[in-house]
Amino acid sequence: MLGFIKKDLLMIKSNIKIFAILLLIYIVMAFQGQMDLSFLLPFMSVMIMMSTFSYDSYNKWDAYAISIPDGRKNSVKAKYLATIILIILTTIIITILSFIISYTKTNIIDFENIVGTIFGSVFATILLQSLIYPAMYKFGPEKARIGLMTIIFCIAIVGGLIVKYVDLSQIIKFLNFIGEYWIIVFSTTMISILYISYKISKRVYLKKEF
């Protein structure tokens, strides 16, 4: 298992310069107030992990993985674990950056607001990746990328329609109801979504011919 996780992390490391440049551009824009850091986490995580899927597909890694011990069993699990490791690392970086930016701009650290924003970003990242991974395994990165665009487009339209036409008081009531338990509720939801996604991906992978 460790070997498979290492493979994904080493692939990310190989492209670290590109990601570092992107991160730098993003940080500069965040300091100038042109960009919100909360977008950075989902953007970077999804982009980095999608690049690993693309390289896997280009070199037909999955057929090779299945030919080595426990490949079919561990390949998908390793991809999800590498994703979690990446999310944790990027979350730490973004949290630190958010504190620095907040302090530089206002001389105070708005702890509650930053944690809330980061938590929302992590939730969005996990939701996005949970949706995209089974599609990656089923249809391959090329088709899944189109799927990802479609999902984002649909979410934006549905979100817009909800804001415009739906009475949001019920949602606000629900959020008030969960109140201080929101971290537990959202954490449980996140873990459940990721677990269901993993189960679907694993099922697809076990049945797939390479």
């Binding site: 492209n15 390289y55 090779y64 299945i66 080595i68 011990p69």
Partner: protein, 285 residues
């Protein structure tokens, strides 16, 4: 003699192609060359042996174990080179060592780097920067660095220049020095197989049409080159296939000595695997 690999009645159906009752038996300590034209079913057979493809029928045993039930134990002991299938190309030979030492119980980093040094590999350069020949050599080095007992190789010498092919064949011959080890390799480069294979198995359109020892094929089989008049005198049951060329007939026969006793023809040559392949596929009966 114990068989290290046994395939019995392997069948797999795709739209427009079918593997039909493929049977293979590879004895311990030997090399089997698996030949056939493109699309004949070589890679499909190898993928079934490795359980990469699904929904095939038949029985596949490696080291006497079922290839699906005892997958982990089997795969710990086999080394693979697959056509155009490998690690993502942004990784380096050093990365591969880091990964493989956590995958194979018997991964031997010292042996791996010894081979890389012998081949003067740049250990820190991404696979994508390597030439096709270097990449193939890396695949072979990766396949043998965990001391496998069986190598399953799909076109391992494709794209290599003669010098590199020679180096690779030397590796295979060293590997086979251990009598417990065997190699099953598919190749288009039949001259390589004429040098190293103990057995030749020939697949055509999903059917195994021939499986013999190299000696049987290269010593007994022959190619008769004759005129139309001479060809007309040959009994149909005394040849396997024939091909009509512009000035002569080429006739594939199973036993040169017996044929020579029975017929008076001017030329009976030993056959090469390439000629055998062409006549078996393109020849008529």
């Amino acid at each position: 003699m114990d068989n290290i690999l046994e395939v019995k009645n392997l069948c797999k159906k795709y739209q427009g192609f079918e593997l039909k009752n493929v049977n293979i038996a590879l004895p311990k300590g030997t090399i089997m060359g698996f030949i056939g034209e493109n699309g004949a079913g070589k890679t499909t057979t190898i993928k079934a042996i490795l359980d990469i493809i699904k929904e095939y029928t038949g029985e596949i045993k490696i080291f006497g174990l079922d290839n699906r039930k005892d997958e982990k134990e089997i795969k710990e002991n086999i080394g693979i080179v697959l056509d155009d299938i490998f690690f993502p190309e942004i990784l380096t030979p050093n990365d591969i060592n880091n990964i493989m030492k956590n995958i194979y119980k018997d991964w031997d980093s010292e042996l791996y780097f010894k081979y890389l040094t012998n081949f003067t590999f740049p250990n820190n350069k991404a696979i994508k920067t390597l030439s096709k020949g270097m990449r193939k050599k890396l695949e072979i080095v990766v396949a043998i660095s965990h001391h496998p007992k069986l190598l399953i190789l799909d076109e391992p010498t494709a794209g290599l220049d003669p010098v590199a092919r020679n180096e690779v064949i030397d590796i295979f011959q060293n590997f086979i020095q251990n009598e417990e080890c065997s190699i099953f390799l598919s190749s288009h480069i039949t001259t390589d197989l004429e040098h190293i294979a103990d057995y030749i198995t020939f697949i055509n359109k999903g059917n195994i049409i021939l499986s013999k020892t190299r000696e049987e094929l290269l010593e007994d089989y022959g190619i008769v080159k004759c005129t139309k008049e001479e060809f007309d005198k040959i009994d149909k049951k005394d040849f396997i296939k024939y091909k009509e060329n512009k000035y002569e007939y080429e006739v594939l026969i199973e036993n040169r000595k017996l044929f020579n006793k029975k017929y008076d023809v001017s030329t009976i040559d030993k056959i090469t695997l390439e000629e055998l392949m062409v006549l078996m596929i393109k020849g008529e009966k």
